[in-house]
């Protein structure tokens, strides 16, 4: 099967004349298939943003390569770079610094306008994107009247209107309140489920990563582990080494297991913990 995105032994070093070079990525091997739902977690400075910027050629690897549907992001052809950026949409942390127009629907139209899509088709795509993110009723609204969470939904709609195969989001929820966070997460789940768009979600909130089908843990420029979340989060030693918080339910289950209680494997969510504890109780 052809991969959508393929990192092949990619490394990246920041070089500047003022400070010593920093190797932010070391030997990254990462493959993303169509329709995947992937979270990347890691502590501050672990190289998450650097990695994100490799997905659409904002940065190109110092050594190794990054392929988007088999095409290298280091390609010098501007049309190919445009095609890559259409296929891999990017959403950043601060919605205020990525929205271009003061009116919601005008902003969503910005991407397709850059691609030279005919006006009627742009209108169709914009309406579809706004409806898919549940913000159609705000289409004529001024951006400054929206909440941070809604602004981030507008940013996602702007990417969606370019008809991407994959959306990469670099800590899109870091500046949002809990309600906004949930809105963004639910919307991404829906896009992944209903439109088959691959999602790469970068975060340092464990509580968000557990919603994904695949989780990669980054630390010091490397991907330390990569797999389904119940696998990852129960490997508490690894998470601790990366300086990440373990979900409370997983940690409690782990400690109980250490004391000799027969806990079910792969406990992540509170409900699973409760179920397992209830089974314990009925056995006694």
């Amino acid at each position: 099967m052809e991969y959508l995105i393929e990192f092949k032994e990619a490394t990246y070093t920041y070089k500047s004349s003022f400070v010593d070079p920093v190797q932010a990525l070391k030997q990254i091997d990462l493959r993303v298939k169509r329709g995947e739902f992937l979270a990347i977690i890691g502590p501050n400075g672990s190289g998450k943003s650097t990695l994100a910027r490799h997905f659409n050629g904002l940065l190109t690897p110092t050594t190794g390569e990054v392929l988007i549907r088999g095409i290298s992001t280091a390609s010098s052809d501007p049309e190919q770079l445009k095609a890559i950026r259409r296929q891999v949409g990017m959403v950043f942390q601060n919605p205020d610094n990525q929205l271009i127009s003061s009116i919601v629907e005008e902003d969503v139209a910005f991407g397709p306008e850059n691609l030279g899509v005919p006006p009627k088709e742009i209108r169709r795509r914009v309406n579809h994107a706004l409806a898919a993110l549940n913000i159609f009723k705000y289409r004529r609204e001024s951006i400054s009247h929206l909440s941070e969470g809604q602004k981030q939904l507008v940013a996602i709609a702007g990417v969606l209107a370019m008809k991407p195969d994959c959306i990469v989001l670099d800590e899109p929820t870091a500046l949002l309140d809990p309600f906004g966070r949930r809105q963004v997460l639910e919307s991404l789940k829906k896009l992944n489920r209903e439109e088959g768009i691959a999602v790469v979600f970068i975060t340092h909130f464990m509580s968000e990563a557990v919603h994904f089908k695949r989780v990669a843990v980054m630390d010091q420029g490397e991907i330390k582990s990569d797999g389904p979340p119940d696998d990852i989060f129960t490997r508490t030693a690894l998470l601790k080494a990366a300086g990440l918080d373990i979900p409370v339910s997983a940690q409690l289950a782990e400690e109980l297991k250490g004391k000799g209680f027969p806990m079910a494997p792969g406990i992540l969510h509170v409900e699973e913990l409760v179920n397992s504890l209830c089974q314990l109780k009925s056995k006694i």
Binding site: K82, G89, I100, E106, G111, N114, P119, I122
Partner: protein, 275 residues
């Protein structure tokens, strides 16, 4: 200090009158034409006719008269100064002294020049106010871009200029909000805004403007990255979601404007200034 509330830049008075619904190109080009005409107007009769036309536009746009005139208020002290200056220092040949005080003498010629000029400036601002009240900022930029597009062959970067305007307008509320936050933070640290002499007031601005500027550069940097990620590669090859189209009402408006311009020209040519 509530910066965000007092911000009247590009105020738009929403409505669905014919004037609101005209193609922005008609409104921008029309206003430009009227302003040009205004610069040639030199007598009271023609100005009265002009003012009546402006009044008709305000009524047609269903804008409360007081609301439209309120925008002129901040200019009044400035205008009064200019008016007095003209009265006392302009002495066109053949004018008579009507009044003298200390070393100053006022002439009737100066009085007319001052009055005509004040009316001209007031009408000029009134016309632009009518334009911005009936046209949203988005329509304004779209219209400007469309009107400048023929100049693109002369290397005038119409699309880029319009996009710059769009982004600038987009950031007005964001930066105002940020300035407000900084002012509140500085007030909490004991800076007393609005107190002290002129120099002290200027000095108070620095701790507000400095972080604002530094943040603005960071924002601009992130904005460029976001625009690149959304496939922006400059003006060429772009399309627009909204295509401007002239309607029947636009053609009627052009007819009315031409008729008005014709009558104005007759008034300007036939009547000797100042009456």
């Amino acid at each position: 200090m509530e910066l965000t509330k007092n911000l009247t830049l590009g105020i738009y008075f929403p409505g669905d009158t014919t004037l609101h619904c005209l193609d922005p190109r008609t409104k921008i080009a029309g206003t430009t034409g009227l302003i040009t005409l205004l610069l040639f107007t030199n007598n009271y009769t023609a100005y009265t006719f002009f003012a009546a036309f402006a009044l008709a536009l305000i009524l047609a746009a269903k804008i409360p008269l007081g609301f439209a005139l309120r925008g002129l208020r901040p200019m009044l002290p400035f205008l009064a100064m200019m008016w007095l200056f003209q009265i006392f220092f302009q002495k066109p040949p053949g004018s008579e002294i009507i009044f003298s005080w200390w070393k100053l003498t006022a002439t009737d010629g100066g009085l007319h020049m001052g009055t005509l000029m004040s009316i001209r400036v007031l009408l000029l601002f009134l016309l632009t106010t009518i334009l911005t009240l009936t046209t949203s900022t988005v329509e304004l930029t779209d219209g400007t871009e469309a009107l400048l597009r023929p100049l693109q062959r002369l290397k005038v970067p119409a699309q880029e200029l319009a996009l710059t305007m769009v982004i600038a307008l987009r950031f007005v509320p964001t930066l105002a909000e940020e300035a407000e936050k900084i002012i509140k933070a500085q007030t909490a640290r004991g800076v007393d805004f609005g107190r002290g002499n002129f120099i002290q007031k200027i000095a108070q601005l620095f701790p507000v403007l400095l972080p604002l500027f530094i943040n603005a550069f960071r924002r601009a940097d992130e904005m460029i990255t976001a625009m690149e990620s959304r496939c922006y590669t400059g003006g060429t090859g772009r399309t627009k979601m909204k295509v401007l189209r002239m309607s029947k009402n636009d053609y009627y408006s052009w007819a009315v404007l031409l008729l008005f311009a014709l009558m104005q020209i007759i008034l300007i040519v036939k009547i000797a200034p100042p009456f």
